[in-house]
Amino acid sequence: MSEAILEGMSEAILEGMSEAILEGMSEAILEGMSEAILEGVSEAILEGVSEAVLAAEEICHTYPGGVLALAGLSLTVPRGCRLAVLGANGCGKTTLFLHLNGSLQPGRGRIVVGGVPAAYDRAALTAWRGRVGLVLQDPDDQLFAATVAEDVSFGPLNLGLSVAEVRARVAEALAMVGIEALAARPTHMLSYGQKRRVTLAGVLAMRPEVILLDEPTAGLDAQGAELLLASLEALNAGGTTLVFSTHDIDFAYGWADRVAVLAGGRCLREGPPGEVLANSGLLAQAGLRRPLMVEIAEAAGLPHGGRDEILAGLADRARR
Protein backbone atom coordinates (compact mmCIF):
# COMPACT_ATOMS: atom_id res chain seq x y z
CA MET A 1 0.00 0.00 0.00
CA SER A 2 2.73 2.42 0.90
CA GLU A 3 4.00 2.24 -2.64
CA ALA A 4 0.62 3.18 -4.05
CA ILE A 5 0.43 6.12 -1.70
CA LEU A 6 3.86 7.35 -2.66
CA GLU A 7 3.06 7.05 -6.32
CA GLY A 8 -0.14 8.89 -5.86
CA MET A 9 1.58 11.62 -3.98
CA SER A 10 4.38 12.01 -6.43
CA GLU A 11 1.91 12.18 -9.29
CA ALA A 12 -0.06 14.80 -7.50
CA ILE A 13 3.07 16.78 -6.90
CA LEU A 14 4.29 16.49 -10.43
CA GLU A 15 1.01 17.30 -12.07
CA GLY A 16 -0.95 19.53 -9.85
CA MET A 17 1.25 21.26 -7.40
CA SER A 18 4.35 21.80 -9.41
CA GLU A 19 2.77 24.41 -11.62
CA ALA A 20 1.46 26.33 -8.72
CA ILE A 21 4.79 26.12 -6.98
CA LEU A 22 6.77 27.21 -10.00
CA GLU A 23 4.44 30.09 -10.68
CA GLY A 24 4.54 31.18 -7.11
CA MET A 25 8.29 30.98 -6.95
CA SER A 26 8.96 32.83 -10.14
CA GLU A 27 6.64 35.57 -9.07
CA ALA A 28 8.28 35.76 -5.74
CA ILE A 29 11.68 35.91 -7.35
CA LEU A 30 10.70 38.53 -9.87
CA GLU A 31 8.95 40.72 -7.36
CA GLY A 32 10.01 40.27 -3.82
CA MET A 33 12.90 37.96 -3.37
CA SER A 34 15.27 39.17 -6.06
CA GLU A 35 16.11 42.27 -4.12
CA ALA A 36 16.77 40.32 -1.00
CA ILE A 37 18.99 37.91 -2.90
CA LEU A 38 20.97 40.69 -4.57
CA GLU A 39 21.42 42.39 -1.26
CA GLY A 40 22.62 39.16 0.26
CA VAL A 41 25.16 38.68 -2.53
CA SER A 42 26.51 42.20 -2.36
CA GLU A 43 26.78 41.87 1.38
CA ALA A 44 28.68 38.67 0.94
CA ILE A 45 31.09 40.45 -1.42
CA LEU A 46 31.53 43.36 0.96
CA GLU A 47 32.24 40.98 3.77
CA GLY A 48 34.89 39.25 1.75
CA VAL A 49 33.09 35.96 1.39
CA SER A 50 33.42 36.28 -2.39
CA GLU A 51 35.15 33.63 -4.41
CA ALA A 52 38.72 32.84 -3.37
CA VAL A 53 41.25 32.62 -6.20
CA LEU A 54 43.97 31.32 -3.98
CA ALA A 55 44.12 30.03 -0.45
CA ALA A 56 46.71 28.67 1.94
CA GLU A 57 45.37 26.25 4.53
CA GLU A 58 47.49 25.84 7.64
CA ILE A 59 50.74 25.56 5.72
CA CYS A 60 54.02 24.84 7.46
CA HIS A 61 57.47 25.12 5.96
CA THR A 62 60.86 24.34 7.43
CA TYR A 63 64.00 25.38 5.56
CA PRO A 64 66.99 23.10 5.52
CA GLY A 65 68.88 23.96 8.69
CA GLY A 66 65.68 23.82 10.73
CA VAL A 67 64.34 27.37 10.38
CA LEU A 68 60.57 27.18 10.76
CA ALA A 69 59.53 29.89 8.28
CA LEU A 70 55.79 29.15 8.15
CA ALA A 71 53.99 27.72 11.16
CA GLY A 72 50.43 26.85 10.18
CA LEU A 73 49.62 29.90 8.08
CA SER A 74 46.13 30.27 6.63
CA LEU A 75 45.19 32.97 4.18
CA THR A 76 42.43 33.42 1.63
CA VAL A 77 42.87 35.68 -1.38
CA PRO A 78 39.53 37.00 -2.69
CA ARG A 79 39.28 37.46 -6.45
CA GLY A 80 39.99 40.95 -7.74
CA CYS A 81 41.39 42.30 -4.48
CA ARG A 82 44.53 44.26 -3.73
CA LEU A 83 45.81 42.34 -0.77
CA ALA A 84 48.79 43.63 1.19
CA VAL A 85 50.73 41.02 3.16
CA LEU A 86 52.30 42.95 6.00
CA GLY A 87 54.97 41.86 8.39
CA ALA A 88 58.41 42.57 9.80
CA ASN A 89 61.55 41.25 8.12
CA GLY A 90 61.84 37.49 8.33
CA CYS A 91 58.19 36.85 9.19
CA GLY A 92 57.74 34.59 6.17
CA LYS A 93 56.31 36.82 3.41
CA THR A 94 58.68 35.65 0.70
CA THR A 95 58.32 32.04 1.76
CA LEU A 96 54.52 32.38 1.60
CA PHE A 97 54.69 33.78 -1.93
CA LEU A 98 56.95 30.96 -3.06
CA HIS A 99 54.25 28.57 -1.83
CA LEU A 100 51.44 30.45 -3.53
CA ASN A 101 52.88 29.75 -6.97
CA GLY A 102 54.17 26.27 -6.29
CA SER A 103 57.88 27.11 -6.11
CA LEU A 104 57.93 25.54 -2.65
CA GLN A 105 55.76 22.72 -1.41
CA PRO A 106 54.38 22.95 2.13
CA GLY A 107 55.58 20.40 4.65
CA ARG A 108 52.10 20.35 6.13
CA GLY A 109 48.82 21.95 5.04
CA ARG A 110 47.86 22.70 1.47
CA ILE A 111 47.40 25.37 -1.16
CA VAL A 112 44.08 25.67 -2.95
CA VAL A 113 44.09 27.22 -6.41
CA GLY A 114 40.74 28.37 -7.76
CA GLY A 115 38.92 26.05 -5.34
CA VAL A 116 40.98 22.98 -6.24
CA PRO A 117 43.77 21.60 -4.01
CA ALA A 118 47.10 22.15 -5.75
CA ALA A 119 49.00 19.33 -7.42
CA TYR A 120 52.73 19.43 -8.01
CA ASP A 121 53.25 17.43 -11.19
CA ARG A 122 54.74 19.20 -14.15
CA ALA A 123 51.49 19.81 -16.03
CA ALA A 124 49.72 21.15 -12.95
CA LEU A 125 52.63 23.43 -12.11
CA THR A 126 52.71 24.81 -15.64
CA ALA A 127 49.01 25.61 -15.53
CA TRP A 128 49.36 27.07 -12.02
CA ARG A 129 52.17 29.38 -13.05
CA GLY A 130 50.15 30.51 -16.03
CA ARG A 131 47.40 31.59 -13.63
CA VAL A 132 49.53 32.92 -10.78
CA GLY A 133 52.51 35.11 -11.67
CA LEU A 134 55.30 35.89 -9.22
CA VAL A 135 57.51 38.97 -9.31
CA LEU A 136 60.52 38.42 -7.07
CA GLN A 137 62.04 41.19 -5.02
CA ASP A 138 65.45 41.15 -6.71
CA PRO A 139 65.03 41.61 -10.47
CA ASP A 140 68.37 39.92 -11.11
CA ASP A 141 66.80 36.68 -9.85
CA GLN A 142 64.35 36.78 -12.71
CA LEU A 143 66.00 38.53 -15.63
CA PHE A 144 68.23 36.27 -17.64
CA ALA A 145 67.88 37.20 -21.28
CA ALA A 146 70.15 39.54 -23.19
CA THR A 147 67.58 42.13 -24.14
CA VAL A 148 64.39 43.42 -22.58
CA ALA A 149 62.11 42.16 -25.35
CA GLU A 150 63.76 38.73 -25.32
CA ASP A 151 63.31 38.47 -21.59
CA VAL A 152 59.65 39.40 -21.69
CA SER A 153 59.05 36.81 -24.44
CA PHE A 154 60.29 33.97 -22.23
CA GLY A 155 57.11 33.40 -20.19
CA PRO A 156 54.59 33.48 -23.05
CA LEU A 157 56.80 31.14 -25.10
CA ASN A 158 56.74 28.70 -22.19
CA LEU A 159 52.94 28.80 -22.33
CA GLY A 160 53.23 27.35 -25.82
CA LEU A 161 51.79 30.36 -27.64
CA SER A 162 52.46 31.09 -31.29
CA VAL A 163 55.27 33.43 -32.30
CA ALA A 164 52.82 36.07 -33.56
CA GLU A 165 50.85 35.93 -30.31
CA VAL A 166 54.04 36.16 -28.25
CA ARG A 167 55.17 39.22 -30.20
CA ALA A 168 51.82 40.90 -29.59
CA ARG A 169 51.94 40.10 -25.89
CA VAL A 170 55.48 41.39 -25.50
CA ALA A 171 54.51 44.69 -27.10
CA GLU A 172 51.40 44.93 -24.94
CA ALA A 173 53.24 44.13 -21.70
CA LEU A 174 56.01 46.63 -22.43
CA ALA A 175 53.40 49.31 -23.15
CA MET A 176 51.53 48.53 -19.93
CA VAL A 177 54.53 49.29 -17.78
CA GLY A 178 55.67 52.13 -20.03
CA ILE A 179 58.98 50.75 -21.26
CA GLU A 180 58.40 50.30 -25.01
CA ALA A 181 61.49 52.42 -25.62
CA LEU A 182 63.69 49.92 -23.79
CA ALA A 183 62.71 46.87 -25.87
CA ALA A 184 66.09 46.42 -27.56
CA ARG A 185 68.18 47.46 -24.55
CA PRO A 186 70.41 44.86 -22.92
CA THR A 187 69.10 43.88 -19.49
CA HIS A 188 72.42 44.56 -17.82
CA MET A 189 72.34 48.20 -18.84
CA LEU A 190 69.18 49.15 -16.97
CA SER A 191 68.63 51.02 -13.75
CA TYR A 192 67.18 49.15 -10.80
CA GLY A 193 63.72 50.66 -11.29
CA GLN A 194 63.76 49.80 -14.99
CA LYS A 195 64.79 46.23 -14.21
CA ARG A 196 61.87 45.89 -11.84
CA ARG A 197 59.47 47.09 -14.48
CA VAL A 198 60.92 44.59 -16.94
CA THR A 199 60.32 41.73 -14.49
CA LEU A 200 56.74 42.90 -14.06
CA ALA A 201 56.28 43.03 -17.84
CA GLY A 202 57.73 39.51 -18.07
CA VAL A 203 54.97 38.29 -15.76
CA LEU A 204 52.23 40.44 -17.32
CA ALA A 205 52.95 38.97 -20.74
CA MET A 206 51.71 35.64 -19.37
CA ARG A 207 48.35 37.30 -18.49
CA PRO A 208 47.94 35.71 -15.06
CA GLU A 209 44.75 36.02 -13.00
CA VAL A 210 46.77 36.70 -9.88
CA ILE A 211 50.08 38.52 -9.56
CA LEU A 212 52.19 38.07 -6.46
CA LEU A 213 54.64 40.92 -5.95
CA ASP A 214 57.37 40.58 -3.33
CA GLU A 215 58.14 44.03 -1.91
CA PRO A 216 57.19 45.85 -5.14
CA THR A 217 58.09 49.33 -3.89
CA ALA A 218 61.23 48.50 -1.89
CA GLY A 219 64.26 50.27 -3.29
CA LEU A 220 62.26 52.46 -5.67
CA ASP A 221 62.19 56.24 -5.40
CA ALA A 222 58.86 58.06 -5.17
CA GLN A 223 58.55 58.50 -8.91
CA GLY A 224 59.55 54.92 -9.66
CA ALA A 225 57.03 53.64 -7.15
CA GLU A 226 54.32 55.85 -8.61
CA LEU A 227 54.94 54.58 -12.14
CA LEU A 228 54.77 51.01 -10.91
CA LEU A 229 51.61 51.60 -8.89
CA ALA A 230 49.90 53.27 -11.85
CA SER A 231 50.49 50.14 -13.94
CA LEU A 232 49.26 47.94 -11.11
CA GLU A 233 46.13 50.04 -10.63
CA ALA A 234 45.26 49.70 -14.31
CA LEU A 235 45.73 45.95 -14.06
CA ASN A 236 43.60 45.68 -10.97
CA ALA A 237 40.86 47.72 -12.62
CA GLY A 238 40.96 45.16 -15.43
CA GLY A 239 40.23 42.39 -12.92
CA THR A 240 43.69 41.06 -12.06
CA THR A 241 44.06 40.07 -8.43
CA LEU A 242 47.11 41.61 -6.77
CA VAL A 243 48.88 40.26 -3.71
CA PHE A 244 51.92 42.18 -2.56
CA SER A 245 54.17 41.96 0.44
CA THR A 246 55.49 45.03 2.18
CA HIS A 247 56.63 46.31 5.52
CA ASP A 248 55.57 49.85 4.56
CA ILE A 249 52.42 50.14 6.60
CA ASP A 250 51.42 53.58 5.27
CA PHE A 251 51.59 52.30 1.73
CA ALA A 252 49.49 49.25 2.61
CA TYR A 253 46.96 51.43 4.42
CA GLY A 254 46.58 53.84 1.53
CA TRP A 255 46.67 51.45 -1.39
CA ALA A 256 45.37 48.01 -0.42
CA ASP A 257 41.74 47.05 -0.05
CA ARG A 258 42.59 44.07 2.14
CA VAL A 259 45.52 43.53 4.46
CA ALA A 260 46.91 40.42 6.11
CA VAL A 261 49.25 40.79 9.09
CA LEU A 262 51.91 38.12 9.43
CA ALA A 263 54.13 37.34 12.39
CA GLY A 264 56.18 34.29 13.26
CA GLY A 265 55.11 32.40 10.15
CA ARG A 266 51.42 32.78 10.88
CA CYS A 267 48.67 35.08 9.63
CA LEU A 268 47.37 36.97 12.66
CA ARG A 269 44.49 38.72 10.93
CA GLU A 270 43.10 39.45 7.48
CA GLY A 271 40.57 42.15 6.72
CA PRO A 272 39.93 45.70 5.51
CA PRO A 273 42.84 48.05 6.27
CA GLY A 274 40.76 50.55 8.26
CA GLU A 275 39.81 47.84 10.71
CA VAL A 276 42.95 45.70 10.94
CA LEU A 277 45.48 48.53 10.97
CA ALA A 278 43.76 50.45 13.75
CA ASN A 279 44.39 47.56 16.13
CA SER A 280 47.52 48.61 18.02
CA GLY A 281 47.78 45.40 20.02
CA LEU A 282 47.79 43.29 16.88
CA LEU A 283 50.34 45.49 15.15
CA ALA A 284 52.64 45.54 18.16
CA GLN A 285 52.53 41.76 18.20
CA ALA A 286 53.67 41.79 14.55
CA GLY A 287 56.40 44.32 15.23
CA LEU A 288 54.70 47.02 13.19
CA ARG A 289 53.61 50.54 14.06
CA ARG A 290 50.26 52.04 13.23
CA PRO A 291 49.73 53.96 9.97
CA LEU A 292 50.35 57.69 10.19
CA MET A 293 46.76 58.36 9.13
CA VAL A 294 45.40 56.38 12.05
CA GLU A 295 47.68 58.24 14.46
CA ILE A 296 46.46 61.55 13.06
CA ALA A 297 42.84 60.47 13.29
CA GLU A 298 43.33 59.53 16.90
CA ALA A 299 45.14 62.76 17.74
CA ALA A 300 42.31 64.71 16.11
CA GLY A 301 39.73 62.70 18.00
CA LEU A 302 38.17 61.28 14.86
CA PRO A 303 36.88 57.72 14.68
CA HIS A 304 39.33 55.43 12.82
CA GLY A 305 37.98 54.10 9.63
CA GLY A 306 39.34 53.86 6.14
CA ARG A 307 41.69 56.45 4.72
CA ASP A 308 38.93 58.30 2.88
CA GLU A 309 36.75 58.57 5.97
CA ILE A 310 39.60 60.06 7.95
CA LEU A 311 40.44 62.52 5.19
CA ALA A 312 36.79 63.55 4.95
CA GLY A 313 36.65 63.95 8.72
CA LEU A 314 39.75 66.14 8.73
CA ALA A 315 38.47 68.27 5.86
CA ASP A 316 35.20 68.73 7.71
CA ARG A 317 37.09 69.73 10.84
CA ALA A 318 39.16 72.27 8.90
CA ARG A 319 36.07 73.85 7.41
CA ARG A 320 34.54 74.42 10.82
Partner: protein, 247 residues
Amino acid sequence: MLATDRHAWTNRWRFIHPGEKALFVVGLLAADFALPAASVAHQVFAAAFLATVIGAKVPARAFWGVMVVPAGFLLAGLPALAVSVQLEGAGPLLSLSPEGLALAVAVQLRSLAAVACLAFLILTTPIPDLLALARRLGMPPALVELAYLMHRLVFVVLERASAARQAQEARLGYRNFKTSIRSLGLLVGGLFLRSLDRGRRLDTGLAARGYQGDLRVLSAEPELSVKRLALAVLMTVVVVASALVWP
Protein backbone atom coordinates in the same frame (compact mmCIF):
# COMPACT_ATOMS: atom_id res chain seq x y z
CA MET B 1 85.43 43.93 -21.33
CA LEU B 2 82.69 46.20 -20.03
CA ALA B 3 83.62 48.95 -22.50
CA THR B 4 83.68 46.46 -25.36
CA ASP B 5 80.28 45.19 -24.37
CA ARG B 6 78.87 48.69 -24.16
CA HIS B 7 80.06 49.54 -27.68
CA ALA B 8 78.71 46.26 -29.01
CA TRP B 9 75.24 47.20 -27.76
CA THR B 10 75.26 50.83 -28.76
CA ASN B 11 77.23 51.16 -32.01
CA ARG B 12 75.64 52.31 -35.23
CA TRP B 13 75.70 48.82 -36.75
CA ARG B 14 74.12 47.08 -33.75
CA PHE B 15 70.95 46.24 -35.67
CA ILE B 16 72.66 45.04 -38.80
CA HIS B 17 72.27 41.31 -39.20
CA PRO B 18 75.24 39.52 -37.55
CA GLY B 19 75.49 37.29 -40.61
CA GLU B 20 76.39 40.30 -42.75
CA LYS B 21 79.12 41.41 -40.37
CA ALA B 22 80.36 37.84 -40.13
CA LEU B 23 80.54 37.52 -43.91
CA PHE B 24 82.60 40.71 -44.09
CA VAL B 25 84.99 39.33 -41.46
CA VAL B 26 85.24 35.91 -43.09
CA GLY B 27 86.05 37.54 -46.43
CA LEU B 28 88.80 39.64 -44.89
CA LEU B 29 90.25 36.68 -42.98
CA ALA B 30 90.28 34.57 -46.13
CA ALA B 31 92.15 37.29 -48.01
CA ASP B 32 94.51 37.72 -45.09
CA PHE B 33 95.47 34.05 -45.06
CA ALA B 34 95.38 33.35 -48.79
CA LEU B 35 97.56 36.15 -50.10
CA PRO B 36 101.20 36.95 -49.23
CA ALA B 37 101.13 38.67 -45.89
CA ALA B 38 103.38 41.56 -46.75
CA SER B 39 101.02 42.68 -49.49
CA VAL B 40 97.55 42.13 -47.96
CA ALA B 41 97.82 42.51 -44.19
CA HIS B 42 97.89 46.32 -44.25
CA GLN B 43 94.78 46.49 -46.36
CA VAL B 44 92.91 43.99 -44.20
CA PHE B 45 93.88 45.84 -41.07
CA ALA B 46 92.81 49.16 -42.57
CA ALA B 47 89.49 47.75 -43.74
CA ALA B 48 88.69 46.36 -40.29
CA PHE B 49 89.74 49.58 -38.59
CA LEU B 50 87.78 51.85 -40.91
CA ALA B 51 84.68 49.66 -40.76
CA THR B 52 84.77 49.82 -36.96
CA VAL B 53 85.54 53.50 -36.56
CA ILE B 54 83.85 55.08 -39.55
CA GLY B 55 81.21 52.48 -40.37
CA ALA B 56 80.01 51.52 -36.90
CA LYS B 57 81.15 54.79 -35.29
CA VAL B 58 82.97 53.04 -32.45
CA PRO B 59 85.63 55.36 -31.02
CA ALA B 60 89.16 54.55 -32.22
CA ARG B 61 90.27 54.38 -28.59
CA ALA B 62 87.99 51.42 -28.02
CA PHE B 63 89.47 49.72 -31.08
CA TRP B 64 93.03 50.17 -29.81
CA GLY B 65 91.88 49.10 -26.37
CA VAL B 66 90.79 45.75 -27.75
CA MET B 67 93.96 45.43 -29.86
CA VAL B 68 96.51 46.21 -27.20
CA VAL B 69 96.56 42.93 -25.30
CA PRO B 70 96.77 40.56 -28.29
CA ALA B 71 99.31 42.90 -29.91
CA GLY B 72 101.43 42.68 -26.78
CA PHE B 73 101.38 38.90 -26.93
CA LEU B 74 102.31 38.96 -30.60
CA LEU B 75 105.23 41.31 -30.03
CA ALA B 76 106.47 39.16 -27.18
CA GLY B 77 106.55 36.25 -29.60
CA LEU B 78 108.51 38.16 -32.25
CA PRO B 79 112.06 37.25 -31.08
CA ALA B 80 111.16 33.60 -30.83
CA LEU B 81 109.92 33.67 -34.41
CA ALA B 82 112.81 35.68 -35.81
CA VAL B 83 115.61 33.65 -34.31
CA SER B 84 116.30 30.25 -35.74
CA VAL B 85 117.96 27.48 -33.82
CA GLN B 86 120.41 25.10 -35.41
CA LEU B 87 120.93 21.85 -33.50
CA GLU B 88 123.42 20.15 -35.84
CA GLY B 89 127.15 20.66 -35.67
CA ALA B 90 129.00 21.80 -32.60
CA GLY B 91 126.28 22.55 -30.10
CA PRO B 92 123.08 24.53 -30.63
CA LEU B 93 123.51 27.67 -32.69
CA LEU B 94 121.19 30.66 -32.56
CA SER B 95 121.09 32.75 -35.67
CA LEU B 96 119.22 35.84 -36.80
CA SER B 97 118.91 35.98 -40.56
CA PRO B 98 117.22 38.68 -42.67
CA GLU B 99 114.89 36.03 -44.08
CA GLY B 100 113.98 34.86 -40.57
CA LEU B 101 113.18 38.40 -39.55
CA ALA B 102 111.10 39.03 -42.65
CA LEU B 103 109.16 35.84 -42.03
CA ALA B 104 108.53 36.79 -38.42
CA VAL B 105 107.30 40.25 -39.38
CA ALA B 106 105.04 38.74 -42.03
CA VAL B 107 103.46 36.37 -39.52
CA GLN B 108 103.02 39.24 -37.10
CA LEU B 109 101.32 41.44 -39.67
CA ARG B 110 99.03 38.67 -40.75
CA SER B 111 98.06 37.93 -37.14
CA LEU B 112 97.51 41.58 -36.27
CA ALA B 113 95.23 41.96 -39.28
CA ALA B 114 93.27 38.86 -38.19
CA VAL B 115 92.95 40.23 -34.65
CA ALA B 116 91.68 43.53 -36.08
CA CYS B 117 88.92 41.64 -37.91
CA LEU B 118 87.81 39.99 -34.68
CA ALA B 119 88.02 43.32 -32.87
CA PHE B 120 85.60 44.70 -35.46
CA LEU B 121 83.23 41.81 -34.84
CA ILE B 122 83.13 42.00 -31.05
CA LEU B 123 82.95 45.79 -31.01
CA THR B 124 79.94 45.87 -33.32
CA THR B 125 78.00 42.72 -32.37
CA PRO B 126 76.74 41.78 -28.90
CA ILE B 127 77.73 38.29 -27.77
CA PRO B 128 74.13 37.01 -27.71
CA ASP B 129 73.73 37.99 -31.38
CA LEU B 130 76.88 36.04 -32.22
CA LEU B 131 75.53 33.09 -30.24
CA ALA B 132 72.25 33.22 -32.15
CA LEU B 133 74.26 33.11 -35.37
CA ALA B 134 76.32 30.21 -34.06
CA ARG B 135 73.15 28.30 -33.25
CA ARG B 136 71.83 28.93 -36.74
CA LEU B 137 75.12 27.62 -38.13
CA GLY B 138 74.79 24.38 -36.18
CA MET B 139 76.32 24.93 -32.74
CA PRO B 140 74.55 22.59 -30.25
CA PRO B 141 71.63 24.44 -28.55
CA ALA B 142 72.71 23.30 -25.07
CA LEU B 143 76.10 24.95 -25.56
CA VAL B 144 74.51 28.11 -26.91
CA GLU B 145 72.16 28.32 -23.90
CA LEU B 146 75.02 27.80 -21.50
CA ALA B 147 77.08 30.56 -23.10
CA TYR B 148 74.00 32.82 -23.18
CA LEU B 149 73.37 32.38 -19.44
CA MET B 150 77.05 32.80 -18.65
CA HIS B 151 77.10 36.07 -20.56
CA ARG B 152 74.23 37.32 -18.43
CA LEU B 153 75.63 36.05 -15.13
CA VAL B 154 79.09 37.44 -15.78
CA PHE B 155 77.60 40.92 -15.63
CA VAL B 156 75.59 40.19 -12.51
CA VAL B 157 78.70 38.83 -10.78
CA LEU B 158 80.86 41.71 -12.01
CA GLU B 159 78.34 44.18 -10.63
CA ARG B 160 78.39 42.43 -7.27
CA ALA B 161 82.17 42.21 -7.31
CA SER B 162 82.62 45.91 -7.90
CA ALA B 163 80.04 46.78 -5.23
CA ALA B 164 81.72 44.43 -2.75
CA ARG B 165 85.13 45.88 -3.61
CA GLN B 166 83.88 49.38 -3.02
CA ALA B 167 82.45 48.34 0.33
CA GLN B 168 85.77 46.76 1.30
CA GLU B 169 87.68 49.81 0.17
CA ALA B 170 85.44 52.06 2.23
CA ARG B 171 86.43 50.04 5.26
CA LEU B 172 90.13 50.28 4.38
CA GLY B 173 90.37 46.73 3.08
CA TYR B 174 93.00 47.72 0.52
CA ARG B 175 95.21 49.87 2.73
CA ASN B 176 98.32 47.81 2.22
CA PHE B 177 99.48 44.61 0.62
CA LYS B 178 98.52 42.38 3.51
CA THR B 179 94.98 43.67 3.91
CA SER B 180 94.59 43.65 0.12
CA ILE B 181 95.37 39.96 -0.12
CA ARG B 182 93.00 39.19 2.73
CA SER B 183 90.22 41.33 1.27
CA LEU B 184 90.59 39.81 -2.15
CA GLY B 185 90.38 36.32 -0.66
CA LEU B 186 87.19 37.23 1.19
CA LEU B 187 85.79 38.85 -1.93
CA VAL B 188 86.35 35.81 -4.12
CA GLY B 189 85.08 33.39 -1.48
CA GLY B 190 82.01 35.51 -0.88
CA LEU B 191 81.34 35.86 -4.58
CA PHE B 192 81.51 32.12 -5.03
CA LEU B 193 78.90 31.50 -2.35
CA ARG B 194 76.72 34.32 -3.62
CA SER B 195 76.93 32.97 -7.15
CA LEU B 196 75.74 29.57 -5.98
CA ASP B 197 72.87 31.19 -4.11
CA ARG B 198 72.08 33.35 -7.13
CA GLY B 199 71.97 30.32 -9.38
CA ARG B 200 69.46 28.70 -7.05
CA ARG B 201 67.30 31.81 -6.94
CA LEU B 202 67.45 32.33 -10.67
CA ASP B 203 66.16 28.79 -11.00
CA THR B 204 63.15 29.72 -8.83
CA GLY B 205 62.64 32.94 -10.76
CA LEU B 206 62.65 31.16 -14.10
CA ALA B 207 60.46 28.32 -12.86
CA ALA B 208 57.91 30.93 -11.79
CA ARG B 209 57.71 31.92 -15.44
CA GLY B 210 57.13 28.39 -16.65
CA TYR B 211 60.73 27.30 -17.29
CA GLN B 212 60.89 23.59 -18.15
CA GLY B 213 64.48 23.18 -19.14
CA ASP B 214 64.31 25.12 -22.38
CA LEU B 215 65.56 28.70 -22.44
CA ARG B 216 63.65 29.91 -25.45
CA VAL B 217 63.29 33.59 -26.17
CA LEU B 218 62.01 35.50 -29.16
CA SER B 219 64.89 37.44 -30.67
CA ALA B 220 64.39 40.50 -32.78
CA GLU B 221 65.52 39.34 -36.20
CA PRO B 222 67.19 42.03 -38.24
CA GLU B 223 66.53 41.69 -41.97
CA LEU B 224 69.26 39.99 -43.95
CA SER B 225 69.98 42.52 -46.66
CA VAL B 226 71.22 41.23 -50.00
CA LYS B 227 72.62 44.66 -50.75
CA ARG B 228 74.79 44.66 -47.64
CA LEU B 229 75.86 41.04 -48.21
CA ALA B 230 77.01 42.06 -51.69
CA LEU B 231 78.78 45.05 -50.17
CA ALA B 232 80.64 42.76 -47.76
CA VAL B 233 81.84 40.62 -50.68
CA LEU B 234 82.74 43.75 -52.64
CA MET B 235 84.88 44.95 -49.74
CA THR B 236 86.86 41.71 -49.85
CA VAL B 237 87.31 42.08 -53.60
CA VAL B 238 88.54 45.65 -53.14
CA VAL B 239 91.03 44.57 -50.48
CA VAL B 240 92.31 41.71 -52.62
CA ALA B 241 92.53 43.90 -55.72
CA SER B 242 94.39 46.65 -53.90
CA ALA B 243 96.78 44.05 -52.51
CA LEU B 244 97.45 42.77 -56.00
CA VAL B 245 97.85 46.25 -57.50
CA TRP B 246 100.15 47.61 -54.76
CA PRO B 247 101.97 44.55 -53.47
